[in-house]
Amino acid sequence: MSTDTVMASLLLGVGFIVLMGLRILRGKKGPDPMVRPLPVFQELKTEVGYAAESGGGLHIALGNGSLYGQSAITSVAALQLFSSLSDTMVAYDAPPIVTVGDPTLLPLAQDILRRTYERVGQAKLFDPRQVWFVAPSPVAYAAGAAQVSALEPISAEMVIGDFSAEVGFIGQSSMRHGISSLAAVAAPAAIGALYPATSRLAMGEEMFAGSAQVTGERRHVLALLAQDVLRLILILAILTSALLAM
């Protein structure tokens, strides 16, 4: 086994032990771990309410990540956040338009929406055309998704998932049409492109805190705690190796 494989295995093993340990020790008992509030997620439900009051809908851009590439887990995190939000959107009668840039996300996004409508007893209101496959290339997807704010009655826009610098098209379009915009992206290029467009931006690892912030479910919060523990372990490892290298 190469050194990289050994290190990756070690990190995965430590991560698994930390995650399972927290689930066993704090899964059902003990005080709720504290989570730093992130404005972008705290204001999500408010934005959904405003959209419902104004009669407009929401645009959820899930990006061009696929389920088979390097961005698979980022896409899963985006789907999880969309799933957490969908109950609120359907309950408030603020129908979303969901755009995806990879067809592997299409059936999953449709299924999340369908099950949400079924849960609230309004299965007949579900329309699979609420989820749009825009284009497989990142730039074409961004240009197509930017058109949603121009052509559809949208009150708010949520950009979550795998994006790159071309997400600037979407941010610029929402700025031009006066649409309230929130974003949660992991890639540095996307962060730089969205920073001018919206002040409500979750950057990098904050994106993975979305589900915990929106639902408050203990299992999501414990995952954040596991991330913090691993971060501390990583910092100690880096400092130790730096000291040993002197």
Binding site: L19, L67, L230
Partner: protein
């Protein structure tokens, strides 16, 4: 099993991994068909109801149909000369789609610059000013300005010291988030696509 095959390439796990990946590729290819039907559904409805932007939907549907023609013509049963469908293929992909994609990509830089300047009007903060200063210095440092070689040095320092440090910290955090999310998928804790 796929993960185990990378850690323990024995007991036929590698063959099993390759077979599973082949099946995943086939399923992913079928999702492209779903995507095509979705495009026809969404834009077909816009066309039939003459909703705003219907002309763009018409262009999209016609362009999609035209782009499907060269692969269809390449079917041997149709006896279309290879030179004909190759010419159509080159025309559509090399002469239309590629330049249009490059044009859109070139627009990204201008869109970002416009957004950066608009930032100063909408947000009056030290961070916004710093963002704009860094953007301007980085852009000017890339251009071969006479007498502006020091800008290139400043740009290099910005990219290699604070920029690289920030990006590494960001990517470390993202990596940890990805790892924990992946572990949760493995243990069945993260499943946005089921009701379990």
């Amino acid at each position: 099993m796929v993960l185990a095959s990378y850690l323990m390439p024995a007991w036929g796990l590698v063959d099993l991994r390759n077979r599973l990946i082949e099946w995943a590729v086939i399923v992913a290819a079928f999702t492209f068909m779903l995507g095509i039907f979705n495009i026809l559904q969404v834009h077909g409805r816009r066309l039939s109801r003459r909703r705003s932007g219907w002309f763009y939907s018409l262009v999209l549907v016609v362009a999609m149909a035209l782009a499907m023609l060269p692969p269809i013509f390449s079917i041997p049963l149709l006896n279309v000369p290879e030179s004909t469908w190759m010419w159509a293929d080159r025309l559509i992909f090399d002469d239309i789609i590629t330049p249009v994609g490059a044009t859109l990509a070139a627009l990204v830089a201008f869109v970002l610059l416009a957004a950066a300047f608009r930032l100063l009007r909408t947000r009056h903060s030290a961070e916004a000013l710093l963002f704009l200063v860094v953007v301007i210095v980085t852009l000017l440092g890339t251009t071969p300005l006479v007498g502006g070689e020091w800008l290139a040095d400043v740009r290099y320092w910005l990219i290699t010291v604070p920029g690289m440090a920030g990006m590494r910290g960001l990517l470390l955090g993202v990596g940890l988030g990805i790892m924990i999310t992946a572990l949760r998928v493995f243990i069945g804790d993260e499943h946005p696509y089921t009701d379990l």
